[in-house]
Symmetry: C2
Subunit: 234 residues, 2 copies
DNA sequence: ACCTGAACACCGTTCAAGT
DNA sequence: ACCTGAACACCGTTCAAGT
């Protein structure tokens, strides 16, 4: 029995390409976390043998570079399509909305910040993104020198993330409990005081876990306000 | 031939313990980077079989947790022994010197920031370190609420590091060359302008690579000045 | 109490070979 | 041009066993 192109059975198989491999890699990471992104697992997800991937991608390093490209491109599209305020009047709000837009993309790919930070080779997409950030600074009247400092100061915050050092641990058991709080009182008086007050102000916060979004914006505004002041004073 | 305790041959072997395993792990990472820190390699470094490590450490995760403890303890010792200015008069300089001291330790273990950031479980040493940071804020007159925001805003900066997104790539070939700069002019006009100016101001900077320490301090001061302002205005 | 040998499941990757 | 099978070196880890 011959299989014609129009054959309705499921045996059609569009050949792989780099693009499809990278998109699938993002899917795999979205679904099962970054540690589930192995060459073998990715291949299986694509209905192919692991070795086939090496035809489209040099090795795993290159795969991860490509994955970063996909994510940062998604950020650039999001940023391009929501057209914030004109940077010429109000660079600060223009920057702010851009960065918070970028952040919404990263919140859909929570594994991505870690991967982005580990790649030290600067990818084209990231360079393009920072070109846009720099454009806003320039249109807002920053000197190149100050804008340069600003890029360093912002760091990954410009892309919409900071790595939180204290993460809400997956299992709820490890939350700070009443007894543990009491135990802290002697050894860690200041942290004890702080967490007690936070727990009092917001009893729903399960003690000490915080609104990441609000904290991100607080830190971001601190930076942006600081940059504004430095700019005025020069 | 019997081997007495006083035997001068090299066959003495102090038994392992958790402490020695962790210290050796730091040594291995210092010497060959974090990717050289495998159970087998660490064991060899200690003159022992890989499986012996599991007697002293539950698994590799626990090993890395322990390694973070060692590093952060080293930070705490450094910070304790250099006794900065009294936080009651001048929390800002107290904080600044503490953080820059912490940074000197991390510069001796360049692989450590990455490991610290990946551990989401909050280790005792880190908690103790942040207790000290919080103490400075409190003695400087911060409310718990503002101090809490401040801890989030500082993030890993409080420990002395930020992950630079654009790293000076190991091989000098990849430096931004003249031709590459020219190529940028159309696609990346603002980055082109910025790098040109930086190259002009500091011809030794091999185009675009920057003084990490100066940039770290710039960002840190931005944060600290911003916190001071917010504090005054409340 | 402390260490080991053999073995397992799972990585990334090479290479020669298939269609 | 695109994909595969077999094989290799190297992971972390278990388990039963040695002293």
């Amino acid at each position: 029995m011959m299989t014609t192109p129009a054959d309705a059975t499921t045996e059609q198989r569009t050949p792989l390409n780099r693009e499809r491999v990278l998109r699938a890699a993002v899917e795999v990471a979205d679904g099962g976390g970054i540690e589930s992104l192995t060459m073998r697992n990715l291949a299986q997800h694509l209905g192919v043998e692991a070795m086939s991937l090496y035809y489209h991608v040099a090795n795993k390093e290159a795969l991860l570079d490509g994955v970063v490209e996909v994510i940062v491109s998604e950020i650039r599209e999001a940023v391009a399509s929501d057209e914030g305020p004109d940077p010429e009047e109000g660079w600060k709000t223009a920057m702010r909305t851009r960065i918070l837009t970028a952040r919404t993309v990263l919140l859909r790919h929570r594994w991505a910040p870690e991967v982005i930070e580990k790649r030290s080779t600067m990818s084209p997409a990231i360079v393009l993104y920072y070109e846009g950030v720099l454009e806003i600074f320039r249109k807002g009247g920053f000197s190149y020198d100050l804008a340069h400092h600003a890029l360093h100061a912002l760091g990954s915050r410009a892309l919409g993330f900071t790595q939180e050092l204290f993460q809400p641990d997956g299992n709820a058991d490890e939350q700070v409990g009443e007894e543990m709080l009491a135990e802290m009182a002697n050894e860690l008086p200041h942290l004890f005081g702080m967490l007690s007050e936070i727990a009092h102000d917001d009893p729903d916060s399960t003690l000490g876990w915080c609104d990441d979004q609000a904290e991100f914006e607080f830190g971001l505004d601190l930076m942006l306000d600081g940059l504004e002041r430095v700019k005025e004073s020069r």
